[in-house]
């Protein structure tokens, strides 16, 4: 499982690393050099994690097998929150928070209240799996 995904990320990360090394060594420009180094890590970190996971699990997920049948994936796929007010609450809180950067620090009050409520509410919603 996850073998092809990990290879994509690892190859991209390696490419960024090589490109970054060439650029930084040749051009001595630190901004771009650091950003390409960041890209290198962004490819390698999840890439290695997935690869390690693939090695550990050893199995093939039904979606990675050419000959899998739909029945092979029978059963619960996952849990999907179906309706929730918390994304809207969190979004509104972030909106007020950003406006506070422009119009005044008092706007952080509704912003933080909404953001905190959303975190608490969404967490409770996940744990309970029911209406909040």
């Amino acid at each position: 499982m996850m073998k092809q995904e990990s290879i994509i990320l690892l190859l991209l990360g390696a490419f960024f690393g090589i490109m970054g090394a060439v650029y930084w060594g040749w051009g001595h420009e630190d901004g771009g050099g650091v950003m390409l180094l960041g890209a290198f890590f962004l490819g390698l970190l999840p890439g290695f994690y997935y690869f390690w996971w693939y090695r550990r699990s050893g199995g093939n997920r039904p979606e990675d097998r050419d000959d899998a049948s739909i029945a092979d994936g029978a059963g619960v796929v996952s849990s999907f929150p179906s309706t929730s007010i918390w994304p809207f609450v969190l979004g509104s809180g972030c909106f007020f928070f950003v406006l506070s950067l422009v119009f005044g620090i008092w706007l952080t009050v509704p912003g933080v209240i909404l953001i905190l409520s959303a975190f608490i509410g969404a967490t409770a919603e996940s744990r309970r799996g029911g209406d909040v």
């Binding site: 650029y23 029945a71 994936g73 929150p81 994304p87 509104s92 969404a122 029911g130």
Partner: protein
């Protein structure tokens, strides 16, 4: 509420694929959920969110387009005073900002993508539905914040959509307008990052059995790569915006020479995001067109693996070309960025040849979606080739910041817009259950295509004659007026095409033509379910043995030739023997 979703039933060729049975399955959920506006506010369904994004981004397109018409009206004469100099600077800043940050981006990676990616991989929803909903609310909040710029006493931001330091400093750009611009980009930036997370996670984790990576539709492949690019690039922009805000308000001197800062650093940070951003904008439309052309050629995509390779190559290279926007600074490594930029032409060319190869030998039906796709390819060819010129520093030295560049990127984005309409005409039936009328559609296509060329060609010439960009007036060169007038006519024709689209939507609702599950005889999984799909998308799924599962189900006697080459082992279109095996096994 949280639902535990089971994998849909299996289906064999010849079975009715039970799209009408969904009521028994989850009709119960619909009865208990919220209704009315509360239902809209609390929905986490990727289909609802996708439509939200599509409609909102098109509204932003219309607003941005209105700014453009005023700009072109101003430029129709050399010393027009339709708007003041300050207003003109605000206009092009807001035009660019609305179009790029609020229209093309969100439409590309969160509009149709949100709707289609779970369907195309056979999943019930995106991996993180609440995060997906949050993305939309952040985007809406960001759009409102950008609009609020017009209420600021000093007017909205007026320093261009790229906001170069030190023009963006507190001294040079005081007031709330610029700060609202920064805030809007922070909100939409996080919105994009969360969309990227969802795209990658959904494609990595929620594919249906048998849907290996190399059997996904190219649209989904492109969304995977777009998601990765979003995760690589957007945090860089957000960091830059935070730095800019600190310079403006907290007395730091990151971009200000007076305190030991480096204005050029803004350009490096901005374009390190900015160049991958244009591929984030383009790849989804490449993907849409790649899904559409084979359907109206009645053939499989030519060179599937080449397309995947080309997309990954474009993504990889796109992180190494940013300073081709900075050739005239005199401060960047010219040969490195030049060769990397020139190389991107190669995978782009591969894609164009593969599209042509798909049409070769086909049975071509020129529906509106197909016309828009072809218009996309032709216009992108023009824009791409003019980009090649810009990749050569000596040629860039005299075209940079002129109308040549403006024409180049407008060729490209108008191509993307045609791609957007191709996607809309193709998938509107799936999303609404109705067809968009073909007559109005073709009228829209021809006005959009012709308008685009009439708009861009004069601007190429103006740039070569020396007209810089971001000019409110041009009194020292009245001879430029003739070409400007042609460009303004082209812009008007483009505006008419948008009107024709709106008319088409209204007509298509007033006099609906029912679509059915698969009006185009298309091949990917979304065409297996009803139009529109039920809650959680699929009651049943066909066997997945190639990148065209629905085509294989409907045309088992017409598999792709060379089927089984490397991408899938021991395959053949499902036969009745397989069907018996699968039913028995479930």
């Amino acid at each position: 509420m949280t639902d535990l979703i089971e994998r849909p039933l299996d289906t064999a060729p010849g079975d009715p694929h039970g799209a009408g049975d969904h009521h028994g399955h989850d009709g119960g959920h619909d009865d208990h959920g919220p209704s009315g506006i509360l239902k809209w506010l609390t929905s986490t369904d990727h289909k609802v969110i996708g439509i939200n994004y599509t409609v909102t981004s098109i509204i932003m397109m219309v607003i941005g387009g209105a700014f453009a018409e005023v700009i072109r009206a101003q430029l129709a004469s050399s010393t027009s005073s339709l708007v003041t100099l300050q207003q003109y600077n605000e206009l092009f800043t807001m035009h660019g900002s609305f179009m790029i940050y609020l229209f093309v981006g969100p439409f590309a990676f969160a509009g149709l993508a949100n709707y289609l990616v779970p369907l195309q991989v056979g999943a019930p929803d995106m991996a993180f539905p609440r995060l997906n909903a949050l993305s939309y609310w952040l985007y809406l909040g960001g759009s409102i914040t950008m609009l609020l710029g017009f209420t600021a006493s000093g007017g909205p931001a007026a320093f261009g959509w790229v906001g170069y330091a030190p023009l963006t400093s507190a001294v040079n750009a005081p007031g709330a307008g610029p700060d609202l611009w920064i805030g809007a980009l922070m909100l939409t930036g996080f919105s994009a990052i969360f969309s990227g997370v969802n795209l990658v996670a959904t494609i990595f984790y929620l594919r249906a059995p048998g849907m290996t990576l190399f059997r996904m539709p190219i649209f989904t492949w492109n969304m995977l790569v777009t998601g990765i690019l979003i995760l690589l690039a957007f945090p860089v922009l957000t960091a830059g915006l935070v730095m800019l805000y600190c310079d403006r308000h907290f007395g730091t001197h990151i971009f200000e020479v007076q305190g030991g800062g480096v204005p050029l650093l803004w350009q490096h940070i901005f374009w390190f995001w900015g160049h991958p951003e244009v591929y984030i904008l383009a790849l989804p439309f490449f993907g849409m067109v790649t899904d559409i052309i084979p359907v109206f050629s009645k053939k499989p995509l030519f060179g599937y693996k080449g397309m995947v390779f080309a997309t990954l190559t474009i993504a990889a290279l796109s992180l190494g070309v940013w300073a081709h926007h900075m050739f005239t600074t005199g401060a960047v490594l010219l040969p490195f960025f030049s060769i990397m930029s020139l190389l991107i032409a190669v995978p782009t060319g591969i894609k164009i040849f593969n599209w042509i190869g798909t049409m070769w030998g086909g049975n071509l039906h020129f529906s509106t979606a197909m016309l828009m796709s072809i218009g996309f390819v032709i216009t992108f060819l023009i824009g791409g080739i003019t980009g090649i010129y810009l990749a050569s520093p000596p040629l860039d030295f005299f075209t940079h910041d002129t109308y040549f560049v403006v024409a180049h990127f407008h060729s490209v984005v108008m191509a993307l817009t045609m791609g957007a309409f191709a996607g809309i005409y193709f998938w509107f039936p799936k999303m609404t259950g109705k067809m968009l009328h073909e007559g109005w559609g073709k009228a829209q296509f021809w006005t959009l295509f012709i308008g685009t060329q009439v708009f861009t060609f004069p601007m190429y010439l103006l740039g070569l004659h020396g007209m810089p960009r971001r000019m409110a007036v041009y009194p020292n060169n009245p001879s430029w007026q003739n070409m400007n007038d042609w460009a303004s006519v082209g812009a008007l024709i483009i505006g008419i095409s948008t009107l024709l689209f709106v008319i088409n939507v209204i007509v298509s609702y007033r006099r609906p033509i029912i679509a059915g599950d698969n009006p185009w005889d298309a091949s990917s999984l979304e065409w297996f379910t009803s139009s529109p799909p039920p809650h959680h998308n699929f009651v049943a799924l066909p066997p997945i043995r190639s990148e065209r599962p629905v085509w294989d189900f409907n045309h088992p006697d017409k598999p792709a030739l060379g089927h089984g080459h490397g991408t899938h082992a021991g395959t053949h279109p499902p036969t009745s023997a397989d069907a018996t095996k699968e039913v028995a096994g479930s």
